[in-house]
């Protein structure tokens, strides 16, 4: 069954071919049918119906009026609880709406629910959630697959057609990798394009909101809706947001694509090397100049990321202490015990592992060797890209080193799990925009993703290249 796109749906709503209520009831029905996928941490049909009621009374024109959207449960929302997939926030009800979700509400979209994720966005398989695994909708019956992570719930929600778009956050690949695993489009914009205000923080210097959708056009519409300057976030950028959709242009003739040689990694499955080559061929046919580039510090990106992100996380998550809100352990005989037991019982294994790593790399005597060094390498990685972008307009790579893997495969091997981010992390460290689009299948007929990276705040070029590849693939 072909899924209807957001763009098409907006037209159908406009022409009254379908009503907001009919549209959303269709989605509600599917959400209930697919409960077994465990896509949502919070789903409340009444809440959705109430939103439909309100929109029906609203005569104003809004850009996303009536469009069902799923929200990663890391965005604080007033109308629904926000858990970050952690026991420590199990019953947390924010009194405030995140910048990004407020923008979506202002445009008239309907929030169908809060999607599952890795606890505090730490993971690559949506298997560290306190609320259980999410199952990749593309799984065969007897072999449940991981949807990727951390935004696995949002990617799965789009893939299973439980919404027309979803929000995600990407710190080291948390939008792009699950998009690749679930066969949908996912974009992480330039760091600073979307305000982080109201998103529970994982690693502040890397966290960035983005979107999932069925296709590139839809992604361009959604991203424009959530982007923009916010004075409440000091790292938010004061840039004009173009009308990405109106400006979409699949004519790439005369552009130059950079192909980084460091992304050919031993052990990458054949099929992945193959789709990469296919993509390059398609571009070549479209008159794109192929430029072999070098990003020499790529091999240091993963260790750098796994120092900086945990370091920031260890500090960002200190606020979950049982004092002010959220879970507090019952076993308390002293202030120290309250901290210890609350955090021991409130956080899961992966979160604790990263807090430990982060605490370690910031400790006296280790700071210079780890954190400071990592910051220096981060600068070198960013410089690599700056240099490369003097010679090309965008860069094309695979999104992930594999297709979706079985749910429990890498559960007990964190290093293997961390390797999932190998192609996505460098751009995160450099703050660059990146999109993943489905491009080809592996031998098990599972989708594979191609990643397109652009210059800072050049999301338009990223969309243009993506739409061009997408159209030629279809």
């Amino acid at each position: 069954m072909p899924k209807s796109s957001l763009k098409q749906t907006l037209q159908d709503l406009e022409s009254k071919k379908i009503s907001i209520r009919e549209l959303n009831q269709d989605y509600l029905k599917r959400i209930k049918e697919k409960e077994n996928l465990n896509v949502f941490i919070h789903f409340n049909e009444e809440n959705v119906l109430k939103q439909i009621d309100n929109l029906e009374k609203d005569n104003s024109t809004k850009k996303l009026k009536g469009i069902p959207i799923a929200i990663k449960d890391l965005f604080c929302t007033k109308s629904m609880p926000t858990t970050a997939a952690s026991k420590i926030l199990e019953n947390f009800n924010p009194t405030y709406e995140s910048f990004v979700t407020q923008k979506l509400l202002d445009e008239g979209s309907i929030f169908v629910g809060k999607t599952n994720l890795d606890e505090f966005a730490m993971g690559s398989a949506t298997n560290t959630s306190f609320f259980g695994n999410t199952i990749n909708p593309l799984s065969k019956e007897n072999e449940p697959l991981a949807p990727g992570g951390s935004s696995g719930g949002s990617a799965a929600a789009v893939a299973a057609d439980l919404c027309l778009g979803a929000t995600g956050t990407d710190t080291g690949g948390s939008i792009r990798q699950p998009a690749s695993f679930c066969g949908v489009v996912g974009i992480k914009p330039t760091y600073g394009l979307c305000s982080r205000w109201g998103i529970a923080a994982f690693a502040s210097s890397l966290d960035q909101a983005g979107v999932f959708s069925h296709n590139v056009e839809d992604a361009s519409i959604l991203l424009e809706s959530i982007a923009g300057f916010d004075q409440r976030d000091s790292t938010s950028a004061k840039v004009d947001i173009p009308n990405y959709f109106e400006n979409l242009d699949d004519d790439l003739n005369g552009k130059t694509v950079g192909i980084p040689k460091e992304y050919s990694i031993d052990g990458t499955p054949m099929e992945i090397s193959q789709i990469w080559e296919d993509a390059i061929k398609v571009l070549e046919k479209k008159g794109v100049k192929i430029k072999n580039i070098s990003l020499p510090h790529t091999k240091y990106a993963l260790p750098t990321y796994y120092i900086i992100a945990p370091a920031e996380a260890s500090s960002n998550l200190a606020r979950y202490d049982g004092v002010k809100y959220g879970f507090r352990s019952d076993e308390i005989n002293s202030l120290d015990e309250m901290y210890e037991n609350t955090r021991a019982q409130g956080f899961g294994r992966e979160v604790k592992r990263r807090i430990l790593i982060g605490t370690y790399v910031l400790s006296a005597g280790y700071y210079d060797a780890y954190y400071l060094k990592a910051q220096k390498v981060r600068k070198l990685i960013a410089d690599d890209f700056n240099k490369a972008f003097k010679e090309c307009d965008f860069i094309v790579t695979p999104t992930a080193p594999s297709a979706a893997f079985p749910l429990n495969e890498k559960q007990n091997d964190p290093i293997k799990m961390y390797l999932n981010d190998v192609f996505t992390v460098p751009a995160s460290l450099a703050g660059l925009p990146g999109i993943s689009i489905p491009f080809g299948k592996d031998k098990n007929n599972l989708p594979l993703g191609i990643q397109i990276l652009g210059k800072h705040f050049d999301e338009q070029q990223v969309f243009n290249a993506a739409v061009s590849l997408e159209r030629s693939y279809e």
Binding site: F75, C76, T82, A84, L89, F92, P94, T95, Y96, S98, R196, W197, G198, I199, A200, A201, A203, S204, S205, Q231, R232, D233, S234, T235, A311, E312, S314, S315, L317, A318, R319, D321, V323, K324, Y325, L335, Y339, T359, L362, S363, A364, Y367, Y371
Partner: protein, 491 residues
Amino acid sequence: MNNLIKGEKHDWEMVIGLEIHAQVKSNSKLFSSSSTKFGSSPNSQVSLVDAAMPGMLPVINKYCVEQAVKTGVGLNAKINNYSVFDRKNYFYADLPQGYQISQYKYPIVGEGKVTIDFKDGTSKDIRIVRLHLEQDAGKSLHDQNPSKTYVDLNRSGVALMEIVSEPDIRTPDEAGMYISKIRSILMYLDTCDGNMQEGSLRADVNISVRKPGYEYGTRCEIKNLNSIKFIKQAINYEAKRQIEILESGGSIEQNTMLFNTSTGKTRPMRNKEEAHDYRYFPDPDLLPLEISEEEIGKIKSSIPELPDELKNKFIETYKLSNYDASVLTAEKQTSDYFNETINSDPELKNYAKIVVNWITSELFSLLNKNNQDLNNSPVSPENLGQLIKLISTNEISGKIAKDVLEDMFSSGKTARQIVDEKGLQQVTDQGEIAKVIDEVIAENPKMVEQYLAGKDKLLGFFVGQAMKLTKGKANPKMLNDILKQKLNKKN
């Protein structure tokens, strides 16, 4: 001046450095728009940011930055164009974020100095290492419930300036003078209200002792002292404690101490195993703070006259001593009062020293006795000026003027009114004074005899008797002169 303390075996010198925490005078907090008003009901001034709710982000309050720059200028310090906010990580119930946003490697203000003035006319520079901006924590209330601790976050996130001195201080008195001087500068600049009782200004004291001329000893830090009296007490106690340990062959362990204000003793706050590793790192939620020379210039030009400038001006204009001028300028209200008094009459300029004395001794002691402040003095600068004018023109004597001032203080009347009503004008009529003297001489022949036999000191007796007869109104100089004349004639 001897700054040394006598030990059992030899002399010791104290080496003291201060970290002053001054609350920035600002209506809102360092990274949120919550009010900073003191004494509001608990948790009534707490924003989502102050409570560290998930996803909340700090946004720098530019006014607080300006206040810090202003203060830096007032401390003769280098203003850094580039500074960075860091996170200082530790867990405490009244620290909602689990870290304090502070400045570690790159403070907003660098090296500077302040000058303290001694009574003997000498002065000394105390070097400032740095000033940085940071957030205050909330307050843990342990005395509200027998088994629970409550947390009040009103203070959480309020802006503080931490001013760190070099270990240039050598005595408790110098420490007191240094903090008074800093307080004075901050109040002139209006960057801190200087209220030590409310905790707007408090200090950590680093202290070690050494044999004079030797290397610095191991120091201990006494935390959170909020009065000059306690600072001096704590230093004295701690120095004695360290000397006792060293003289009995022990060594000092570097430690953080608390001062018990009721026992006057210091005790270690935590042992080594509990020592914090604050894991400082740049706060990724905030961009580095960049201030242009132009902005600094703008702030500089808005700065009022500071105590040292004013002091020099007073010395030059009114020929005051260094010490008098420094007392006068120690508090803005005093220098303001002096200025208003001396400007109330053009003649008073020539009597500046008298004006200083009347303010800093007579008026201050009346204010102290009545628990009042110069700001709400019942005697206005104009009225004090009028009183001093009456003295300087010999209309009343200094002695009578003291009574007049007391009367002014309690009745609110002007000096003129009181002098006229009570007829207190000095007697300056030569004939009248001579008449009284004749009377006194006639009534005390024995005394006259003794005086003439060489007991010069008896002159005072005659003066006293004559003053009594004139009810203190005789001009003392004329009285003296005529008296001497007449007595000597008897010879």
